[in-house]
């Protein structure tokens, strides 16, 4: 995400410098960087949820096993 923000800052600077080609390239990069960052964040969140659920299931299984005679 930091890379995306740095690229966006650079793109704005390029616009100010009237280097519109560079600004377009930087904006494209910033967009795809941001998309990647969002995907990573969502995947990390999902992974965290999966791990937590799996742990909960393990505990529940243990509990049920213990409860069973």
């Amino acid at each position: 995400m930091n890379q995306a923000m740095q690229k966006m800052d650079a793109a704005e600077r390029a616009i100010n410098d009237k280097d519109f080609e560079l600004a377009r390239q930087l904006a494209e990069k910033a967009q795809v960087d941001a998309q990647l960052a969002a995907a990573m964040a969502r995947s990390a969140k999902a992974n965290k949820a999966a791990v937590a659920l799996q742990e909960a299931n393990r505990v529940l299984n243990l509990e049920l096993d213990r409860k069973a005679p």
């Binding site: 390239q25 990647l36 995907a39 409860k67």
Partner: protein, 366 residues
């Protein structure tokens, strides 16, 4: 041969090199191609992030086209960077979806575990209920069987009691029958005994009667003989039948005048009487003395006493017991003739001997 073996391999290598060489060299683009190929061959990424992979592929094609048409290196690098980042996005998307799928699976798994646990609990409860029902059913059946047994036992007991009662009644009846038969038997035996006794008695009676008849006949014969003999003896004693029985009169001539001793002829008469009395020991005698009217009464009474005693003494001398002889002097009280002539006076001077009946009784003088 060895050359031929290696030829295909070298052909492949040449083809690969030429494949790469068909696209002009760009380090960034090559790296992007490598990353893309790695992602495409990953089944998870190609399945879960097909759209993102397609975007990466489009960017790669654009980059390849830009390089082929000799556009600036910056443009190719730009497109290669986009493709590289899009591959990363596809990788992350696949990871996310995989994790989400794992979440869903875990959630389903936990739900299934809970459900399984609930189902197991319910099954256990149902099983317990069924077991309890079965136990109840079994207990109920056992109870029914026990009740049936008890009922059957009760009926058997009652039947046995009834049989015992019947047997007792039969036994009682049999005893009564036996007693009745016994009584009948005893009665019959008693009747038979009685009949036998009666027969015996009748026989005895008949024999007795026969014997008695014989005895009676014999007695009659003897009595007749005795009576005949007695009558003959009494006739010789000059016995006369009077109201008082047989009377023998000893006349005055048998005594000396005014004497009490018997003369010889008188003694003979007395001897006949003694013989008779010895023959009939039951007979008793009353000896009465009588006088005529000559002399005083007291003298005549004493004389009559003495004469009667004289006869008694004579009889006792002849062996007759004194207890069989009674004497009485009457003096002149009972004359049998008038005292007017000497003959009649002689008749009055007498001793009368009254014979008793067969039982020794003598009728007293009136």
């Amino acid at each position: 041969m060895k050359l031929n073996q290696f030829f295909p391999m070298s052909l492949i290598a040449v083809a690969m090199i030429s494949g790469c060489s068909t696209t002009p060299q760009n380090a960034s683009l090559a790296e992007a191609h490598g990353l893309y190929n790695g992602a495409r061959t990953n089944a998870e990424i190609s399945n879960l992030a097909a759209l993102e992979l397609k975007q990466a592929s489009d960017s790669l094609n654009k980059a390849d086209l830009a390089l082929k048409e000799g556009e600036s290196e910056a443009t190719v690098d730009q497109l290669a960077y986009l493709a590289k980042q899009q591959v990363a996005i596809a990788r992350e998307t696949a990871k996310r979806k995989s994790a989400e799928s794992a979440v869903a699976k875990a959630s389903a798994s936990s739900d299934r575990m809970r459900l399984d646990a609930r189902t197991a609990e319910a099954d256990a409860a149902k099983l317990e209920t069924l077991s309890a029902q079965a136990t109840t059913q079994r207990k109920s059946e056992e109870l029914a069987v026990a009740q049936a047994n008890a009922s059957r036992n009760q009926r058997e007991l009652e039947a046995t009691a009834a049989e015992a009662d019947a047997a007792r009644r039969e036994a009682t009846i049999a005893q009564e029958n036996a007693r009745r038969d016994q009584r009948r038997l005893e009665a019959t035996a008693a009747e038979a005994d009685a009949a036998r006794r009666q027969a015996t008695v009748a026989q005895d009676a008949a024999a007795l009667q026969a014997a008695a008849l014989a005895v009676a006949n014999a007695n009659a014969e003897r009595d007749r003989a005795l009576i005949a003999q007695q009558e003959m003896q009494l006739e010789s004693l000059n016995a006369k039948k009077t109201e008082r029985g047989l009377v023998i009169t000893l006349g005055d001539v048998l005594f000396r005048t005014n004497q009490t001793n018997l003369q010889a002829s008188g003694t003979r008469n007395v001897q006949k009487l003694a013989d008779f009395l010895q023959q009939y020991p039951q007979q008793k005698v009353l000896i009465e003395g009588h006088t005529d009217s000559a002399g005083s009464d007291s003298h005549n009474l004493a004389l009559s006493d003495r004469r009667a005693d004289s006869v008694r003494t004579a009889l006792m001398d002849m062996g007759i017991g004194g207890e069989r002889i009674t004497t009485k002097g009457y003096g002149e009280a009972y004359p049998i003739a008038g005292n007017d002539t000497a003959n009649n006076r002689q008749l009055n001077r007498r001793v009368e001997i009254i014979l008793s009946d067969a039982n020794g009784r003598i009728a007293p003088r009136m």
